[in-house]
């Protein structure tokens, strides 16, 4: 299932899928990534991280000290100046390579819609076969606002030529974490 998800997601446009056995490894990767992207305290170079289950295992204060441009309090202002936005998604859909977001909390949308690079954290155990699983497992009665996200923001409005990063992220980085929420697959 993971393999199909990875193949389809990476075919959906400027998307990279990585898999980690443990949350610790994923966090290590995120730190390296923030360094690589030169996250610092200047508009355009911020990183924002919306609330999510994985954050329970993170020492936020220590992280902010390491990366002065990183914020866990997502606002319109810092999301607008963010190079990287990090958020956790509810489930993955192998057939399309897409993911479902519980978007009720506006910070989830701000962190994933305004930045240049969206880092999406996804429990590997929550990848399901097809779109039908989304319709079975999530329902508007429980979620006031849901979003399916598949790949990076794109357009073909000029001469049918694909271009990425129109109004949303130019790049989507999906981190699948095996030990998040439940047993390993």
């Amino acid at each position: 299932m993971f393999e199909l998800f990875k193949t389809r997601a990476e075919a959906s446009g400027n998307t990279e899928v990585k898999r980690f056995s443990t949350t610790g490894e994923a966090l290590g990767f995120i730190e390296d990534f923030l360094k690589e992207e030169n996250i610092h305290d200047a508009p355009g170079s911020y990183a924002v991280w919306a609330d999510g289950p994985l954050l329970e295992q993170v020492d936020k204060q220590a992280m902010v000290q390491k990366f002065p441009g990183l914020s866990f309090e997502v606002t319109e202002e810092n999301a607008k100046g963010a190079r990287v936005g990090i958020s956790q998604l509810k489930m993955g859909i192998a057939e399309t390579g897409g993911m479902a977001q519980d978007s009720e909390d506006v910070t989830q949308r701000l962190a994933s819609a305004l930045c240049w690079i969206h880092v999406a954290i996804l429990p590997t155990t929550k990848i399901f076969p097809d779109l039908g699983d989304f319709f079975k497992r999530m329902h508007p009665r429980e979620y006031k606002f849901m979003t399916l996200i598949t790949g990076a923001s794109k357009t073909a409005d000029i001469e049918r030529v694909l271009a990425v990063g129109v109004h949303g992220p130019e790049k989507l980085m999906i981190l699948c974490v095996d030990d998040l929420e439940g047993e390993q697959q």
């Binding site: 819609a113 319709f135 009665r141 000029i158 129109v166």
Partner: protein
């Protein structure tokens, strides 16, 4: 200088960058790949069932949506007319003190000309979808429902952006997209109101679904403190689960994607970034949709999911684009929606561009007979306004067998000064346009009906009545003779009912259903006289009449008493190659031994492939007769003949022919075959005019010496 929208067909044909863009995209292949593993027929039937069910019950479904959305905290307003929708939105703007609006893509707002209306109150509407923004800068209407600015080149867009940013820009598309991002980003933060459309509205849960690729829809529904969605009531589905079918079909049909990048499901107001509660309004737009639902024929058009597949596959649309072929909504479905959302009269010019090839009907994920409904528009215009006098006169002549036939005989003499090798290459004066790219065939000196009397028929148990059709009877009598010869070789005795006349397809195609029904009635009796086992037709257009249209047209015209006879003819009607294939399979017709193999490419005529469903049988029959078939690119795309179309829309017809000839030439085959004299006139004339060595021939002419 701002680029101009083409005002007529000639201008559109000259500024034709669209065809090249659609070619590079290769929509049919991209779409087919996206649908791999999905039962398209089953999916389109599901969508049709769901949406047709809603259209049968608009009031109740609107009420359910309203009740549920309101219970979630959304304000819902049903607007019966564009005016009511515009007034509601203007009043909301006044109440909230809205000065600036950001809009994500919405065809419904285009339909009611919302921006223009709000402009009058000094309210600034900013389009944020890239294509819509480009159209706004150019002061153009969208030319395509999914790709609004596809008619403009990157150079023209670069000029528009330079003018807007007051900076010189190059025409690199990736850079232009970033310019748009930078220019539009701040507007999302400044706007007081975000307006979106809605691709689906779910009644059970009060949810609006917005599908998009750019992310502007997410920003327009997130950043301003008020969100308003304008949604046509045909977007309603009863349950959340019903939305799945649309979400499967829409991206695959629209762009060849498995999913669009973002699908937002908004069911209730949520908190804004400043902590306030967002105000969410849904305006459900009727604008004649209820009236449309009450029409037994046009109700079907409400199954549309606005994917624009019908535009992408339309051989006419690709040549003239949506500014000529359409109004606000463009192309095939756009013609139908224009007739209802604007008025029947406004669709009059547009409908004339449809050649009736049926590509749109075949591809539609809403299972709408788009070509059939455009024909219905033609019919209603003909009924309401009558046909242009001269054209109607011509159709009446065709229906008067004796007069028509004697005129055709006279024609064979009158044409003499212009004839060489059986083709008319030049015509005098104003008629010269007809022969510019294509020579016309001549009327034969001896008609098939006279030739037939000279062919001695074997006595046989198996009898076929031959329906020649006008073209084989008067232009290609030799082909008729060859059909008889092959059938005789297969042990079939052929009779030729003398009283037969035009099949009625020209009348049907021009919307004169009453005259078409008269043709059907006239022919039925004479064809069944000898109680034949088969009724054989050598023309796919006539075959369509016999196999399909006669029964339907008789029903439509209230002539039910004749339907059993029409059904009898339909059951016995065979296209020539279809019967040859059957006779070969039954070993009644055996290919000669040691025949030379020749190369051939087969053109699927619209009537054969999409109306009669015959594409494998003709190929099998030709293969049996010793032809190695190489399929040309777009083998089932219309050649541009379309009966009277080639005269009424001659420029478009000739451009379609040009493309067809290129595809034929690229196969390197010796022959091109089609079982439709109309196509053969078009293809053969085009090849002759171009000096090509490839011969366009009817299957019977290719088969005549190949069987024992």
């Amino acid at each position: 200088m701002k680029p101009q929208m083409p005002k007529n067909i000639n201008e559109a044909l000259q500024s034709n960058s669209l065809a090249g863009i659609l070619d590079r995209w290769d929509y049919p292949a991209t779409r087919a790949k996206a649908f791999e593993g999905i039962d398209f027929q089953a999916l389109r039937r599901k969508i049709a069932t769901v949406k047709s069910g809603v259209a049968s019950n608009f009031d109740a479904v609107v009420e359910t949506f309203t009740k549920n959305a309101q219970a979630n905290g959304i304000k819902v307003f049903r607007a019966n007319s564009p005016k009511e929708a515009k007034d509601y939105i203007a009043a909301l703007c006044k109440e909230k003190g809205v000065k600036k609006i950001v809009k994500s893509k919405s065809m419904a707002t285009e339909e009611i000309h919302l921006n223009h209306h709000l402009d009058q109150f000094g309210i600034e509407s900013n389009e944020t979808d890239l294509g819509e923004w480009i159209c706004q800068l150019a002061h153009h209407t969208p030319s395509h429902m999914v790709l609004p600015a596809i008619h403009l080149s990157k150079e023209e867009i670069s000029d528009l952006f330079s003018e807007e940013t007051k900076k010189p820009l190059d025409s690199d598309i990736q850079k232009l997209v970033k310019v748009a991002r930078e220019q539009i980003r701040e507007r999302f933060f400044e706007a007081d109101l975000g307006i979106s459309g809605g691709n689906i509205a779910i009644a059970d849960t009060g949810t609006i679904v917005i599908t998009e690729n750019e992310g502007n829809g997410r920003l327009a529904t997130t950043l301003p403190n008020v969100h308003l969605a304008l949604v046509g009531i045909e977007k309603l589905v009863p349950t959340f689960e019903d939305a799945e079918h649309v979400l499967k079909a829409l991206p695959r049909s629209a762009t060849g994607q498995l999913s669009t990048t973002y699908n937002s499901f908004i069911s209730a107001p949520t908190r804004n970034a400043d902590g306030s509660m967002k105000e969410v309004h849904v305006v459900l737009l009727d604008n004649n949709r209820t009236k449309m639902a009450a029409d037994p024929k046009f109700k079907e058009a409400l199954q549309c999911i606005r994917c624009a597949a019908c535009l992408n596959v339309c051989p006419v649309f690709r040549l003239v684009s949506g500014h000529v072929f359409g109004d606000i909504y463009t192309g095939g479905i756009g013609t139908i929606l224009t007739a209802w959302f604007t008025e029947l009269k406004s669709a009059e010019k547009i409908q004339g561009l449809c050649i009736g090839c049926g590509k749109c009907t075949e591809i539609c994920p809403g299972n709408i007979d788009i070509a059939g409904l455009i024909l219905e528009i033609r019919h209603r215009i003909a009924k309401k306004e009558g046909l242009p006098f001269v054209y109607k006169g011509a159709l009446q002549v065709i229906n008067n067998r004796k007069l028509f036939h004697s005129l055709l005989r006279a024609g064979s003499i009158a044409q003499k000064p212009f004839v060489k090798d059986g083709f008319i290459r030049h015509l005098p004066f104003f008629l010269s346009g007809f022969t510019e790219h294509r020579s016309l065939p001549t009327v034969a000196p001896v008609a098939f009906r006279d030739l037939f009397k000279t062919i001695k028929q074997p006595k046989s148990e198996t009898k076929a009545a031959f329906f020649a059709g006008c073209a084989l009877d008067f232009v290609y009598p030799e082909t008729g003779k060859n059909i008889i010869k092959v059938l005789n070789q297969g042990g079939v005795e052929v009779v030729f009912p003398e009283e037969q006349s035009c099949c009625g397809i020209p009348h049907w195609g021009s919307g004169s259903f009453d005259m078409a029904a008269q043709s059907a009635a006239h022919n039925l009796k004479t064809l069944l006289e000898d109680d034949p086992d088969y009724v054989v037709v050598g023309c796919a257009s006539c075959a369509t009449a016999l196999k399909k249209e006669w029964a339907e047209i008789l029903k439509e015209q209230g002539m039910e008493a004749l339907i059993p006879q029409a059904n009898k003819v339909a059951q016995r009607a065979y296209m020539f190659t279809e019967l040859v294939n059957k006779l070969v399979e039954e070993k009644k017709l055996t290919p000669k031994e040691g025949i030379d193999i020749h190369t051939l490419t087969y053109h699927d005529s619209c009537h054969a492939k999409r109306h009669c469903g015959l594409s494998t049988e003709p190929r099998a029959a030709l293969s049996a007769a010793g032809y190695a078939i190489t399929d040309m690119k777009e083998c089932d795309v219309c050649c541009g003949m379309g009966g009277a179309y080639t005269i009424k829309q001659s420029d478009v017809s000739m451009q379609m022919l040009k493309r067809k000839l290129e595809n034929i030439n690229n196969t390197g085959a010796e022959f091109v075959s089609a079982e439709c004299p109309g196509c053969l006139i078009q293809l053969g004339g085009g090849l002759d005019k171009a000096g090509s060595t490839i011969k366009a021939m009817h299957p019977a002419d290719l088969m005549v010496d190949k069987f024992q």
